[in-house]
């Protein structure tokens, strides 16, 4: 047995920081002048309610532009979003969080967080490593524990008339599930919110602050990795440590990058989907009552919540100067790839702006399209279904305590971060 020295070097963090030295663009913040020429996903008028903006752009200027973030484009039609998702020749996944920082070109084709940040052909093999652990059959093994955990969260509400369904329920469920799958101590869960915010929010913060924030996560992962090297066990971390690509073990940054992806993307996305679904039901009593009365409708309703409140927007970088469907794109321009906007395109779906909980045909793109389809989609669907089933069974009567008090995450993963609800437990 060979000694695994990939994580022994003292300078691992320094090498990681150095590897990420990229280019920075000027921070341009403040109210948007015109959404067609100056859009921003970092301003409150976007993240509080992006749908009217997207609907208007789809009619008026379906591929919007901005000088912010060093230049970026926003397609709003389903057909354009899909075409870009499928076009890995012209659009790179080298960076998938749009801000004022672009990682160096030589970080491709792996990118910082494989496989979501990877381009072909590297992408295929890096993704293949993860797929078996995230099939519908594989994630079903987590269902009983997930359900028990949902019940324990609701048990803790006993005696209270008002709870925060985002902070006290939705957030915890994916955190527990992915933390357990990675084999991290449950007592570390409070740290993960900071990691999520560091990775995905505050994108206009100074670059050194952002590097420092994501560095905390890297240091944490290295600590977990070293513990797993000493004490291997049956979890995703040990699996990644022994996994091979092309006959060789993964390098340190691939292992840590993939773990970082699984942790961050495993948490905030599903947290957002559970929260947005409960928010909809809290303000739409007819849908809530119908789902309580017809629990078998939940899998169908859930797809509609995923369509209409799709949490995830991705990003791409333009590979070379190109005129694309009339837009003069420059190399290194961003594409903000809005699956939420695509999902509400009336050319793709009937009654696009309505939440139709018994919609039978629902070809939405909430989990992306093409080679980067969310690797955790089966896990997310299991968690969302169990979280909603358990909530509706235990708390069939609930409503918004104060619509104005609901807050939404800024950035590319959108969901409620504060969701105060008046709750009435089921009479048992």
């Amino acid at each position: 047995m060979t000694v695994d020295d990939r994580f022994e070097q003292e300078d691992l963090r320094a090498r990681r920081d150095e590897r990420l030295v990229g280019t920075r663009s000027e921070v341009m913040a403040g109210p948007v002048r015109d959404w067609a020429t100056d859009f921003s996903h970092m301003e409150p008028e976007w993240y509080d309610d992006p749908y009217p903006v997207q609907d208007e752009l789809r009619e008026r200027c379906p591929i919007a532009h901005t000088e912010r973030f060093g230049g970026a484009w926003l397609p709003t039609r389903y057909e354009d979003v899909a075409a870009i998702a499928y076009d890995t020749d012209n659009f790179s996944s080298r960076a998938i969080v749009m801000g004022n920082f672009r990682p160096p070109l030589d970080i491709a084709p792996a990118g910082g967080v494989p496989p979501i940040s990877s381009d072909p052909p590297f992408h295929h093999d890096a993704r293949k490593l993860l797929l078996p652990a995230f099939t519908k059959k594989a994630v079903a093994k987590q269902e009983a524990a997930t359900r028990a955990y949902c019940h324990s969260l609701i048990d803790a509400f006993t005696g209270r008339a008002e709870v925060d369904a985002a902070a006290e329920y939705a957030q915890h469920i994916p955190t527990r599930v992915i933390g357990d799958m990675l084999g991290f101590p449950q007592s570390d869960e409070p740290l993960y919110r900071e990691f999520v915010e560091g990775a995905l929010e505050g994108l206009n913060a100074p670059p050194e602050v952002r590097v420092e924030r994501t560095g905390h996560l890297f240091d944490y992962l290295v600590t977990q990795i070293r513990d797993h090297l000493e004490h291997p066990r049956d979890d995703l971390t040990s699996y990644l440590l022994q996994a091979e690509m092309g006959g060789e073990k993964l390098d340190a940054f691939h292992v840590a990058g993939t773990m970082s992806l699984l942790l961050i993307a495993g948490i905030d996305t599903t947290w957002s989907a559970i929260g947005a679904s409960l928010w909809h039901l809290a303000r739409t009593p007819e849908d809530r009552r119908r789902l309580v009365a017809e629990p078998a409708l939940l899998p169908t309703a859930m797809e509609e919540f995923l369509r209409t409140y799709a949490p995830v927007t991705m990003a791409r970088l333009v590979k070379h100067d190109i005129t694309w469907r009339g837009a003069d794109m420059k190399a290194e321009d961003w594409i903000l790839l809005s699956f939420p906007a695509a999902n509400r395109d009336p050319a793709h779906v009937d009654r696009a702006d309505e939440v139709v909980i018994d919609r039978e045909v629902n070809r939405h793109a909430a989990f992306g399209l093409g080679i980067h389809r969310c690797v955790g989609s089966h896990l997310a669907r299991m968690e969302l279904r169990v979280a909603l089933e358990t909530w509706l069974e235990r708390i069939p009567e609930f409503s918004l305590a104060d619509p104005e008090a609901v807050t939404w995450a800024a950035g590319q993963v959108r969901g409620p971060r504060t969701l105060p609800l008046i709750v009435q437990p089921a009479v048992t």
């Binding site: 293949k128 797929l131 078996p132 995230f134 099939t135 519908k136 059959k137 899998p299 797809e303 039978e360 045909v361 629902n362 070809r363 939405h364 793109a365 989990f367 399209l369 093409g370 080679i371 389809r373 989609s377 089966h378």
Partner: protein
């Protein structure tokens, strides 16, 4: 009974339905085997595949179409064979 044994006597009836998945388009969303578990299955990596030889008995036509129509990648063909 799970319909892994599709209709064998093809050509006996008009309006036979056959399903096929374009493996180059399938990305493993799994909507087909979620919605039509008697027509489609999942492989070890989560990609969909057609159970049996793809000929769908009449009782499962609606299920097969539902699975196909919900494929986000439009990777499933439902072919009506005369």
């Amino acid at each position: 009974m799970v319909g892994t044994g599709p209709v064998r006597n093809s050509g006996r009836w008009r309006g036979q339905v056959k399903v096929q998945i374009d493996a180059a388009r399938c990305q493993g969303h799994g909507r087909c085997y979620d919605l039509a578990p008697e027509v489609f299955g999942e492989d070890d990596e989560g990609y969909g595949h057609v159970l049996g030889d793809g000929l769908v008995p009449a009782a499962l036509h609606a299920q097969a179409r539902l699975g196909a129509m919900n494929c986000p990648e439009s990777a499933i063909d439902v072919v009506e064979e005369a």
